[in-house]
């Protein structure tokens, strides 16, 4: 459904910005949008989930999506 696709895209954009701001994630073009287990963004999501005490799935699950939308300290968790 279009709504699903749009929601997914928004979620991806949210997590990508979050990882760039707080987990020193550098976007390197198309490859980071492919949700393979060993893609850079999946690794970063796991790192973030581990840091924040979430279940480490590497996926954009609802808990993860909820947490990254909460107010937080602006200082990065993993500094560049």
């Amino acid at each position: 459904f279009p709504a699903d696709t749009r929601q997914k895209k928004e979620g991806i954009q949210l997590i990508q910005t979050y990882l760039e701001n707080y987990y020193n994630f550098k976007k390197d073009g198309e490859s980071d949008l492919i949700w393979k287990n060993n893609s850079p963004i999946t690794k970063k999501i796991k790192e973030m989930q581990d840091f924040l005490g979430l279940e480490v799935t590497g996926k954009l699950d609802s808990d993860t999506l909820d947490l990254i939308q909460q107010p937080r300290c602006g200082f990065p968790d993993i500094a560049g």
Binding site: Y22, Q69, R72, C73, G74, F75, D77
Partner: protein, 380 residues
């Protein structure tokens, strides 16, 4: 807890802060009070003191800004990042910036300035983000409960790793009027060990040390060392409710008994033994006894004494029998009158705590030998 790479920290104990501008969300006086309260919390568990600067450059410069504001981390509008602060150092080291696009409050609605400032000043003092979701230094902002002391044991361990254990002495506080002023709003902050008004909920020996219980934490003190450590009761015994009414240790069994209301727990170190809590009636108390004020174990006689209002019961460990009837405290302990807050045995003396006084009692001579302050055991 974790610190910044290289563990930067302030080398001096008195730090200055300056509030460069104010959010229109709050009255400036409320901003001043919230910022001072946040610094007070860190002062209460370290030797650090904080003095407010009005005009000059300060160690910690505090400001409200939106979006890009001349540093490396622009703010992002309402929500998201609410504030950030920098590790100790020169220049903007230690500075704290608050996102003016948030709705700053002094209540539990919106974004509470005190709570966020407390986290950011943790960074200003050298703490990095913690992975412990219960810690103040956890990066995600959550609603906080104003009735609970805001620092978790993880935060206390972190800041005392950087700046040492001993809280500042009361006389120092008087000198720096900025840190403590009489009209300071009542907060569940850590009581000051050197205040003449200090009272205790319970005191017991514990594996060679002495534990002084107060509200949700206790001070640990070795009788022959100056150092005092503050510990959250919940970090030692998570299942215990906050506050302890009475406590005594049976050293030869390495067991300590803790009383709260009409229940008691037996612990060995930081482990609560299975089968507890139990009701105090299992010890033989009548139903009209609802709490124990104080208790101690007289090793020389093998007896445990339980003090309730102006009477006491004693339990003989050898015959495993409790007194049938209570006796007046002043009959058995001349000079000790009325309700007792706490009592413990050290060497061959009993120390009774009653409000702001402490009575040293010699059981051999059956009389009070010294009248002491409650903070007698602390390096004041």
């Amino acid at each position: 807890f974790s610190t910044f790479a290289g563990e930067p920290k302030w080398t001096k104990k008195v730090l200055t802060y300056r509030i460069l501008n104010y959010t229109p969300d709050l009255h400036p006086a409320d901003v001043n009070a919230a910022i001072k309260k946040a610094f007070n919390v860190w002062s209460s568990v370290t030797p650090l003191k904080f003095v407010k600067e009005e005009n000059d450059l300060a160690d910690i410069m505090i400001s409200f800004a939106v979006r890009g504001h001349n540093d490396f981390i622009p703010f992002d509008g309402p929500g998201g990042a609410v504030a950030h602060a920098y590790a100790p150092g020169t220049g903007f080291g230690g500075d704290a910036h608050f996102d003016e696009d948030e709705t700053w409050t002094i209540s539990t609605e919106g974004t509470n300035l005190f709570y966020v400032a407390l986290h950011e000043f943790g960074h200003s003092l050298g703490l990095f983000h913690s992975k412990d979701p219960e810690a103040l230094m956890y990066p995600i902002y959550r609603k906080f409960d104003p009735s609970v002391f805001p620092l978790h044991q993880d935060d206390i361990n972190g800041i005392q790793h950087l700046y040492g254990h001993t809280p500042i002495t009361y006389s120092d506080q008087r000198e720096s009027s900025e840190v403590k002023e009489p009209d300071e709003p009542k907060e569940p902050a850590l009581a000051d060990t050197c205040s003449p008004d200090l009272t205790f909920d319970a005191v017991t020996t514990f594996r060679g040390e002495i534990m002084f219980f107060k509200d949700k934490y206790f001070w640990r003190k070795h009788p022959s060392l100056r150092e005092v450590n503050v510990v959250l009761i919940s970090s030692f015994w998570p299942r215990l409710p906050p506050g302890v009414d009475a406590a005594y240790e049976v050293p030869e069994k390495d067991e300590t008994v803790l009383f709260k209301g009409n229940e008691f727990w037996v612990v060995r170190g930081d482990t609560i033994l299975p089968g507890y809590p139990q009701k105090i009636y299992a010890l033989g108390f009548p139903k009209d006894v609802t709490k124990i004020d104080a208790a101690f174990y007289n090793r020389n006689k093998g007896k445990i004494y339980f003090f309730i209002v102006d009477k006491f019961w004693s339990y003989n460990k050898r015959s495993q029998s409790m007194d049938r009837k209570p006796r007046q405290i002043r009959e058995a302990f001349p000079g000790i009158n009325g309700k007792i807050d706490a009592v413990f045995q050290h060497n061959d003396f009993f120390y009774f705590f009653h409000g702001r006084k402490q009575f040293e009692f010699d059981p051999g001579k059956k009389r009070v030998t010294r009248l002491l302050k409650t903070n007698f055991w602390f390096p004041c």
